[in-house]
């Protein structure tokens, strides 16, 4: 099978790769670009840990054909912090003990960012809905919900 040339923006940088037909975005990001922040969980859209933003919209990278993101802008957890400074959501996750084993955290942070980018002051129910496609086995969700609400509150007052 011949390779397909593919160009898109990855965390603000233009990237160009060659993918096999049928390659999903998760594999393209992890194996061809070397961005290991989107995690492989279930590979079938059931757990949310592979979540990335495509033009600001939340997508499951394991179910997204790499070819479909040509010319579009991809954001992953790797692009979230600015230099040495954590993103307010990352800071809030740390402060609220919202991670234990950490495997769901990249997807949770992307789902939270997608929410706050379009709705800077969400209600608790809106936060719950935003992360309901993401499975966490350790925290019981409460610390994650609290972290997202704290980041939203902090952002508004800053």
């Amino acid at each position: 099978m011949s390779k397909i040339p593919l160009q898109f923006r990855h965390n603000g940088h233009d990237v160009a790769i060659f993918v096999d037909g049928g390659t999903n975005l998760l594999v393209a990001l992890r194996e061809l670009i070397g961005d290991m922040t989107p995690k492989f969980g279930c590979g079938q859209g059931g757990c949310g840990t592979c979540s990335v933003l495509v033009d600001g919209e939340l997508h499951l990278s394991c179910l997204t054909l790499a070819e479909t993101v040509a010319g579009r802008s991809i954001e992953t957890l790797d692009g979230m912090k600015q230099g040495p400074n954590l993103h307010p959501l990352q800071r809030a996750f740390a402060d609220n003990f919202a991670a234990q084993c950490g495997y769901c955290t990249p997807g949770m942070l992307m789902a939270a960012k997608a929410l706050l980018d379009r709705n800077p002051r969400p209600s608790r129910d809106e936060v719950i809905e935003a992360i309901s496609g993401n499975i966490c086995r350790c925290t019981g969700y409460e610390p994650i919900i609290n972290a997202i609400l704290a980041a939203a509150g902090g952002r508004a007052s800053a």
Partner: protein
């Protein structure tokens, strides 16, 4: 359709660690020439916080800042032997081993410092900020870094310590079956409130109130995160998680995260937690351990709350809507019990 509110409670005693082979854990502590310390363990930190807690225990015992201690749990091939991370044993068993290792390493560090300061080691104390000085004469001081350098390059000493924690194996009395499988127990009591829908059989968590007694909480925020997350897992075991239906063949059971149910962020309820600290005599700094026991009281409390709500006693977990409906049907309808 009627939703019935019910309340149930449960109390548990939870043995810390296990009896098998005396349940030993080893730890090794050594200083690097930079004056920082490395703790080598073979138990892994799955996110519960064992790395943080053993780091605190080591730093406190050595008398150095917590930033100066690094915990390496990476490799059970090269690390000292440990039974593992389970049975709520990490803080208690591994913590005790780390404490013993750090105590031995501290002895060597103080001897090396004494040689540099030309005093008796018994006259020295640590300030917890990376310095060792003569008691009552803080100006006669040396940094742990300088002690480490002197030990490494001048005195030819390793500032290191070995630690093991082993509870003698408790044999079963063949006459009575008696044994003492654990040296300390943690305790908990939890009250669960649920709504049971007598038409769908669904159980919704309304709130939980709990009290946990787990020795001294060495890191209160980590204890809290264990209790919050563990209670969620208890709810999950009580109401959701099952590999059934596995009939007529196992292939019909759930195979993935879409079919294997767990409570999502919308299914959780408020949980008010009280932590009671009664230091355990044989625990590191009095700690027991909040591990598996975080989940345990939830299951019987939820089962009792369902009985209180609709009068059916279900002793087969998880308590799925199907089981609730069948039980309500078998007794001819919901029979709410008295609320106390």
């Amino acid at each position: 359709m009627t939703r019935h509110r019910g309340r149930g409670m449960a109390s548990i005693n939870y043995p810390i660690g296990m009896n098998l082979g005396g349940d030993p854990s080893q730890a090794l502590v050594h200083s690097n020439p930079s004056g920082k310390f490395t703790v080598a363990l073979s138990s892994i930190d799955l996110g519960q916080g064992m790395k943080s807690v053993t780091r605190q225990i080591c730093a406190e015992t050595l008398g150095v800042p917590v930033e100066d201690v690094y915990v390496d749990t990476a490799d059970s091939d090269t690390g000292p032997h440990c039974m593992g991370s389970f049975a709520s044993r990490g803080t208690h068993r591994v913590g005790n081993a780390v404490m013993a290792a750090a105590r031995e390493a501290r002895g060597v560090m103080m001897e090396a410092a004494a040689e540099e300061l030309e005093v008796n080691a018994a006259d020295l104390e640590t300030d917890g900020r990376g310095n060792i000085h003569v008691k009552g004469a803080p100006h006669r001081s040396i940094s742990t870094k300088d002690v480490a350098i002197a030990a490494q390059f001048k005195q030819g000493k390793t500032i290191s310590g070995r630690g093991i924690f082993l509870v003698p194996l408790s044999e079963v009395n063949p006459e009575t079956g008696e044994m003492s499988p654990a040296t300390c127990y943690a305790h908990a009591c939890l009250v669960a409130e649920v709504d049971v829908d007598d038409e769908t059989g669904e159980v919704a968590m309304i709130r939980m109130d709990s009290a946990y007694e787990l020795g001294r909480a060495l890191n209160p925020r980590l204890v809290e995160q264990q209790l919050v997350g563990g209670a969620w897992m208890g709810v999950s075991h009580a109401l959701y998680e099952t590999t059934e239906p596995a009939y007529p063949e196992p292939v019909h059971g759930p195979r993935d995260f879409v079919e294997y149910l767990m409570p999502g962020p919308g299914d959780i309820c408020p949980h008010d937690i009280a932590v009671l600290e009664r230091p355990a005599p044989d625990g590191p700094f009095g700690a027991k351990g909040p591990g598996e026991m975080c989940a345990n009281p939830v299951l019987p409390a939820v089962a009792n709350a369902i009985f209180n709500a609709v009068g059916v006693r279900i002793d087969d977990l998880p308590i799925t809507p199907e089981k609730v409906l069948r039980a309500i049907k078998a007794q001819g309808g919901a029979r709410p019990q008295a609320r106390r």
